[in-house]
């Protein structure tokens, strides 16, 4: 529970506050009026007020991560995601929250007679709205990151296909830097290809990978272990001297995993395992 008068003041003056805020927002975004309809903006602003009144009356502090604020967080997440998709900038999106300060403070100056109480509550309100505004920016950035990641994944799937070298032998040439997320996806693709092509031998070539860190090395090893459980064997090839040193330095235990310096050696080994050989005509 809170002792601030904010929820009561906002609630009592809801209509005027909403109208003043909407007027301000429309002024600031006259160029963007085609992107967000008036009725949608009114609905979003109205819901914001309701959520604000609710959260402030139930919680004492300004910790917007608390459960009392989850309704507001959901609202702002949704709004932020929408604005990001509609092509707004992060600043424009956060301004939804920040622009609320002006009509709110105008109202508070009228409502309070005690200067100290006014100062206290204005400060509390500023703190809250700043945090909420920053939250929308965080979500906005995360949304943008998600889109970029998805695009990267799609590019990745196109650029790192699993290749069938021969009956039962697959090759996965990895190129470029590997991060944890990318490695996981690539590895899942390999395991699925093993089932789809009925291949029991896979060569994972890392010639084109400049660096390998602990996480990536662990993912590689987990993939080899998973392939084994499925009945397929992996050979890791293209381990350059620097990477070999890194692996030892990191203390990663390659125990039992077949490795070859070059892809050609790995292919030869694979053929041998299948009792095959390439003979000159």
């Amino acid at each position: 529970m809170t002792t601030t008068r904010l929820p009561e003041i906002i609630s009592r003056n809801q209509e005027e506050l909403l109208n003043a805020w909407l007027r301000l927002q429309t002024e600031m975004f006259s160029a963007r009026r085609d992107r967000v309809s008036e009725s949608q903006l009114r609905a979003q602003s109205h819901n914001f007020l309701i959520a604000l009144i609710d959260a402030v009356s139930r919680s004492a502090g300004s910790d917007i991560g608390a459960t009392e604020w989850s309704g507001m967080r959901d609202l702002l997440s949704e709004l932020s995601r929408q604005r990001a998709a509609q092509g707004f900038s992060p600043r424009e999106t956060a301004t939804f929250v920040f622009s609320f300060k002006r009509p709110l403070f105008a109202l508070l100056r009228v409502e309070y007679t005690d200067h100290q109480a006014l100062a206290d509550d204005m400060w509390a309100a500023t703190e809250l709205l700043d945090k909420l505004g920053l939250y929308t920016i965080e979500i906005f950035q995360k949304t943008r990151e998600d889109v970029i990641m998805r695009q990267q994944q799609e590019m990745l799937e196109l650029s790192t296909p699993v290749v069938q070298l021969w009956h039962g032998i697959l090759a996965l040439p990895l190129i470029g830097t590997l991060d944890s997320a990318r490695t996981q996806i690539v590895m899942q693709n390999l395991l699925e290809a093993i089932v789809a092509k009925g291949a029991d031998l896979a060569i994972i070539d890392i010639t084109g990978v400049p660096t390998v860190d602990t996480l990536v090395a662990q993912h590689l090893l987990k993939t080899v272990a998973a392939a084994r459980l499925m009945g397929a064997e992996c050979i890791i090839s293209g381990i350059r001297p620097q990477i070999a040193q890194t692996i030892i330095h990191l203390g990663v235990d390659l125990g039992g995993v077949l490795t070859k310096a070059t892809f050609a050696d790995a292919f030869q080994l694979a053929l041998r395992k299948k009792s095959l050989a390439i003979a000159r005509a």
Binding site: V195, A226, R228
Partner: protein
């Protein structure tokens, strides 16, 4: 088959004889009793049919937890004592990834992609020829 608590409770998992091998295809989400019953039944059949190999097809299982893992391990160990090899075939990719994450390595169990490959492995093991492309967990 009986129904208890809305769950189809299969009384026993069928075991097929294929030459000197036994084939088990697990297609239901087993509760613990059923898994233990399978272990018992297989043990009995290995002796009774003088089987030299056991093929366990888990291609229909999308969950293998530590209990089932333990059961598979037990079957392999028991079979070995009775001079029979066990091959587990058809593990799904997401199951394999999860088992690795869980830390289950299924020692002493051979694996193969499918029943055909599994049979090849067993035949090779039986005839004393080292199988080129099948291999064992350690």
């Amino acid at each position: 088959m009986t129904i208890e608590k809305g769950v189809e409770v299969m009384d026993r998992i069928p075991i097929l004889k294929m030459g000197s091998f036994l084939l088990v295809t697990i297609q239901v989400d087993m509760h613990d009793q059923l898994a233990l019953a399978l272990q018992d039944d297989l043990t009995e059949r290995i002796v009774r049919d003088r089987a030299t190999g056991v093929l366990i097809d888990i291609s229909a299982l999308d969950i293998v937890d530590s209990f089932i893992g333990r059961m598979l391990g037990n079957i392999a160990s028991i079979a070995r004592i009775l001079d029979a090899e066990t091959v587990v075939v058809g593990m799904q990719p997401s199951v394999a990834i999860t088992l690795v994450e869980l830390g289950l390595s299924l020692p002493g169990i051979r694996t193969a992609l499918n029943i055909d490959r599994g049979m090849e492995l067993l035949r090779a093991a039986n005839s004393g020829v080292a199988a080129g492309d099948g291999f064992e967990e350690s």
